[in-house]
Symmetry: C2
Subunit: 471 residues, 2 copies
């Protein structure tokens, strides 16, 4: 598939929704509503045999449409889909997204219908996304996912691929909370035609995509995936679901993929460890993508994972973060004598610990933290920083944001912030608002925050390992 | 130490604070402030040589106090502590908490002072908690930790032991968010005298404690710990920090324990796996304690970990939770044919998946979920339930709380709720308030909620494993 062939999927000037319905809860209606809410700027043709108005739009019979249609969404029941594909082919509507579920994930009957769809697509050279998916979110083109009428209108440089519609929606929403913005999100379900290797081939060329996050349950042709990876030049964070016994069974009834084959995938990840940032669940996918998006790309091969410095308050906390770091193969090395001397001048003796992790003790000494940061990070053993905060403990987080921004302007090293919450009862919601505002401020200066040691350390380790393996 | 000897630590009728200070940020002052804020009902003697008023209280010289003092808090610098201990011994003040830091965690000098403290304590038969700790929180006795002036006044049946002051504070605060209440929290720092085995011996007898959560960096005598465990009859959730290389180094500069010895502890946990619920970080300590507190104690040995049912919405989510469950050695078995038939009558064919995990699809079918729950849980393969919710997706969570409460009244089986958040930006705080209120409602009916699959599955697996090993 040539690069330009993808254009109608992302910048459709006209779309048809086959199966648009006046029934409030039907997918066809809900999808149409999402497109309208998102203010899709092109022409919309709801296709419905009854000729009624749907959400204020005239509905059409497919044969009566005289305009070319860039993109067709199919939402009729599975059993009718092959026939609708044939009709599209007749009219030379080449680009199809099948939102309908009820194909091979439901058993033999559905499997047959899906195979028929594949045949029709192949015969007529149709390009099909889905079935059993939520579609495409592409703010530049003005289109959105099934439930995404209120998704952000601004674009970013991250593209997310997902066989699961639920994960694609959650990724946009939680990513939005983290300040992430997307070039595209493609929910592609059962992958009857276009599959992960095709999407990667396209994204490799796509100037709007710098980073790819993907969730897969299986690929039809793993050799094709290997081949597309050979050419692939961008960071790819990949989560393979369904590798355990029960997970594989669940995947079969989701997108119909026999997605176990643990050994095959183990080998695949092993072979491609320099290309792929492998993750294991939704949070790790999101956190690692955030780390890759916000932290500076490393340009020479340096083993920075052995040079991690930690600043925080509290001894027990320093032990926990050290244990978490070591478990993720990060090393928290000792400070040099010069650094220790320098810090001793700046920090009080009582309630602090001049080592790595650096326990700065009582947070009241915040005024000197810029200097503490400078001295600590000049240590030759330290090139990466984890800074641990508790929002209701540090009394002047605004100053801390400024200190870290100033430091970062002079030293573009990887810094992550652990921004832990305390006491999240319904009564102290003002603390939560403060928490979110400070999180946003750190994200504005491209310093990622994480809600726990474990999540932060894991994301940092993934980011460092990627560049250590890749360069 | 006899059971009654502990009473003055928890129900002190009078306390002295040696080192009470007028300086705002000194620990002595801050501790005194916490006691006053907490409305400690007994008599307080601030001890200070200058004879000034401290926070409105007359200060004393130790030798001028004529009353017996049940509990002495020492907050003077480390170097003065042995002398103060001697003075206490002279006055027959036997029960001491040393809040001061700067002992063996700081190196040789501090080590010597700590050894002297141990000697004085032994010679005069003093009972010492600390040094380098935050003290005791015991709502029934009206006393609190160093920064705990606003801790809950009501008691629960959980006792928490922690060498780290920070962890003890966070445990109370985040536990409070989860509806947990405490009998006691003891922050015991370097354990110069009383150590983990002593506390366990006491708690085994304590009628107010049904469940113990503990954080340790090391014990002075692991054989004594083994011995105290032999007698111990209550569930103990235990986190050992500092088992990695860097974690051990951090522990040495925290409470001065050489806390590595990974092999010794590995053997210890292996030998005591029927008695101890081992956890690995703060979140796991909290989550597992919550599961143990809220879920029904199992009374016969049943291998329930192989009988876990999952209900939720979304196929990708079902795969993720299955993978997470299998990774924690939980089994998500297939449904019986009878159950599948029963569910087919209740659920629409489209957008659902009649299996385990049960994908109930579109949440609009909430009206039937009570019946769905009944049919699903009658399956002979299922005896434990994980129910996955998204707060802003299910439109009537209040009904869901009622359905689960009703089900639980008739069937006291282990149920956990996964209550995931979406879109936590600063602008949608009302969603957060809703989230917290529903979480609280579930906790009121003793159904624990968890913010992610991973945390929920891990806590459930720990709870089930405890009873499977223990009974």
């Amino acid at each position: 598939m040539d690069f330009k062939d993808w254009e109608p999927f992302f910048y459709p000037k006209s779309v048809a929704v086959i199966g648009a319905s006046i029934k409030l809860f039907k997918f066809g209606n809900r999808f149409l509503q999402a497109l309208l809410d998102f203010k899709y700027p092109g022409k919309i043709y709801p296709v419905n045999p009854r000729g009624v108005k749907i959400l204020g739009l005239d509905s059409w019979l497919l044969q009566d449409i005289t305009d070319p249609i860039d993109l067709v969404y199919i939402t009729v029941p599975a059993v009718q889909v092959p026939e609708e594909l044939r009709k599209c082919a007749q009219k030379n509507y080449k680009n199809i997204i099948i939102l309908t579920a009820g194909f091979k994930e439901t058993g033999d009957e559905g499997q047959k219908i899906e195979e028929e769809c594949a045949k029709v697509a192949k015969k007529h050279d149709l390009r099909v996304i889905g079935p059993n998916c939520f579609g495409i979110y592409h703010p530049k083109g003005g289109i959105t996912l099934l439930p995404g009428g209120d998704f952000p209108k601004d674009s970013g440089n991250i593209t997310m691929l997902s066989q699961s519609g639920g994960h694609s929606v959650n990724f946009v929403l939680l990513g939005q909370s983290d300040g992430l913005r997307f070039s595209k999100v493609i929910s592609y379900g059962n992958a009857v035609d276009l599959d992960l290797p095709d999407y990667l081939e396209f994204l490799n060329e796509d100037p709007d995509t710098d980073l790819v996050a993907a969730y897969t349950e299986g690929v039809r042709d793993i050799n094709k995936l290997k081949q597309s990876l050979r050419e692939f030049k961008k960071p790819l964070v990949l989560w393979k679901g369904g590798l355990t016994e029960d997970g594989a069974r669940a995947a079969t009834s989701h997108t119909g993929f026999l997605s176990g084959q643990a050994e095959v995938w183990k080998g695949f990840f092993q072979q491609n460890r320099a290309k792929i940032l492998r993750v294991h669940n939704f949070e790790e996918l999101l956190d690692t993508t955030k780390a890759m998006a916000y932290l500076p790309p490393l340009e020479k091969r340096e083993v920075l994972s052995q040079k991690v410095g930690v600043i925080g308050g509290g001894g027990g906390i320093g032990i926990e973060i050290s244990d978490a770091a070591n478990a993720h193969e990060l090393k928290i090395p000792k400070l040099s004598e010069a650094t220790r001397k320098g810090l001793k001048v700046l920090l009080p003796a009582e309630g602090t610990s001049i080592s790595n992790p650096l326990d700065i003790g009582n947070p009241l000494y915040i005024g000197d933290q810029g200097e503490v940061l400078n001295v600590f990070m000049q240590d030759p053993n330290i090139s990466v920083l984890i800074y641990d905060f508790i929002v209701d403990f540090v009394f002047d987080l605004r100053t801390m944001v400024r200190i870290i921004r100033d430091f970062k302007e002079k030293n573009d090293i990887p810094i992550i912030i652990i921004l832990r919450e305390l006491l999240n009862t319904a009564n102290n919601i003002s603390l939560e608002i403060k928490y979110r505002k400070y999180r946003d401020k750190f994200h504005e200066i491209k310093v990622p925050t994480f809600p726990s040691f474990y999540r932060g350390v894991r994301a940092l380790a993934n980011y460092l390992r990627y560049y250590e393996n890749h360069l």
